[in-house]
Amino acid sequence: MKAVWTIAKRELVAYFTSPVAYIFLVIFLLLTGFFTFTAGSFFERGEASLAAFFGWHPWLFLVLVPAVGMRVWAEERRSGTIELLLTMPIAPWQAILAKFLASWAFLAVALVLTFPAVITVNLLGSPDNGIIAAGYLGSFLLAGAYLAVTCMTSAMTRNQVVALILSVVICLFLILAGFNPVTDLLTRWASPALVDTVAAFSVVTHFDGFQRGVIDARDLLFFLSVIGFALFATGVVIRGHRSG
């Protein structure tokens, strides 16, 4: 575990020593503000909740999370440092986990910095803060799922832009499988059981519960297994291009 901590620490420091981290944080906060208060019509809703805030996260993260994670492996491969890292006396899974956790921690920082939204809604009314906490947990898990997918695509290429595009496409599928306009379209020609099965693979389906304040073990399991699967796939990809 010590090696995991060493690598994660290095990754996290690397985020904050480059201007990219600060640019990302500013953009993230501006966009959440815009989507919550303007596009999400926070004030017109007349309810003390952050539904307008969380509802946009699957879409907002769709671009922002891959932007954070795209460099994780692609940059190591481009610069050749992957050779340095993987010839250290560590197991590959330690490096994979460490890099994922560091980027996830960075995204957690971004989420924590949205606290003014919580203060605002508490000043204006008396919301159920339990629902808000569940919403944050859901958002964090959602970000983790997208991030793990991005780690996987990042390991596939030495080009960060390719990694970004691939992960956006995969994450878009994860949204659309449970997105109402799409499921409505599917129900016209597919059996309801099939539509439900497809929708069960969607992050939206599992994210909804958290927004309502319900922490369902199945939803937790879904996100954790997406993360686990994608990180496992990252390991396979990395082993694959080492063996040529």
Partner: protein
């Protein structure tokens, strides 16, 4: 310390490394020579455990790299091609990171970092970030990383690539110095490095070992080895040809021995001939053979072997 048996690596249909075996003991510096694309880097990547071989075995200090990778990797210091390092880190941060991954903590880590900083002359750039360094400093930073845990085995992929002549000289001296109590393998395509730093050299071509020996032995494979070059007023080709094949070179004559093992006698015979005819000698020397000629001869395809 390093034992390699029948190592094979294929990429698709291409056999990048095709049955290489050698071993390196403590106190040896092995130069790994070969044209670009001969399989040098691929072999080193398999030795360090970065790439699994298609077949064959690598063992480091008795630990099989495939079966107990961590134990083997602990014994190795590795300088990858182009001396890759994290550009956003400072030299100090980078060396500490490497030391931490090598399991060094607290006072041991400070001591290890201090030692390699001194060894690689990095004092003046310690707090600078790596992307602001010149190529020579970047190289030495990565070399320092490879030495941080005082490894018993040192593997270096083109350690002098891109350095200026002074830096090359320093690195070669360092390699020779370190080679006294470590097993070292380094690849290069600069032949003078073999003389400067190696106790033994292997030449590989298209994935196979084509020559293996001390620098002297390799040099002796040269056609030139044992030839005598004579520059003397009055000397004539006809008279000299009684001793062996003679070739005029820039106003001098080069006499090749008929039998390489009798090189010393050839020199004596030339001296006798000179005395007999009373030629005025301006220069005379015995050739040791040239490595680059040997290298060219054994690594070029057959059609190009002439000249």
């Amino acid at each position: 310390m390093i034992r390699i048996e029948n190592l094979v690596k294929t990429f698709g249909a291409k056999r990048a490394v095709d049955g290489i075996s050698f071993s390196v003991e403590r106190g040896e510096v092995l130069g790994f020579l070969g044209p670009n694309g001969a399989g040098k880097s691929t072999t080193m990547r398999m030795v360090t455990g970065f790439m699994p071989p298609t077949s064959g075995k690598v063992s480091i200090g008795g630990h099989d790299v495939a079966e107990s990778p961590l134990a083997a990797k602990r014994l190795i210091g590795y300088l990858p091609e182009n001396a890759a390092s994290y550009p956003d880190m400072t030299v100090h941060g980078f060396l500490n990171f490497a030391a931490e991954l090598r399991g060094l903590d607290g006072a041991a880590r400070r001591k290890a970092v201090g030692h390699v900083v001194e060894l690689c002359f990095l004092e003046s750039v310690l707090r600078q970030s790596i992307d602001t360094l010149s190529k020579g400093y970047k190289h030495r930073t990565c070399l320092a990383q490879a030495l941080i845990h005082d490894p018993q085995v040192l593997v270096m992929d083109e350690p002098t690539d891109g350095l200026d002549p002074n830096q090359k000289h320093e690195v070669r001296n360092l390699i020779r110095e370190l080679g006294k109590d470590k097993a070292i393998v380094f690849s290069t395509h600069i032949l003078e490095e073999v003389d400067a730093a190696c106790t033994r050299a292997i030449i590989i071509d298209r994935g196979r070992i084509v020559a293996n020996g001390t620098p002297q032995e390799l040099r002796a494979m040269s056609d030139l080895a044992g030839a005598v070059t004579l520059q003397a007023r009055g000397a004539s080709l006809e008279r000299l040809s009684s001793l062996g094949r003679v070739e005029p070179v820039n106003g001098a004559f080069r006499i090749y021995p008929n039998d390489k093992s009798k090189a010393a006698e050839l020199a004596q015979a030339v001296v006798e001939l000179v005395n007999l005819h009373g030629w005025k000698v301006e220069g005379m020397y015995s050739e040791r053979g040239e490595l680059d000629e040997v290298f060219r001869r054994i690594t070029l395809p057959d059609t190009a072997k002439k000249t």
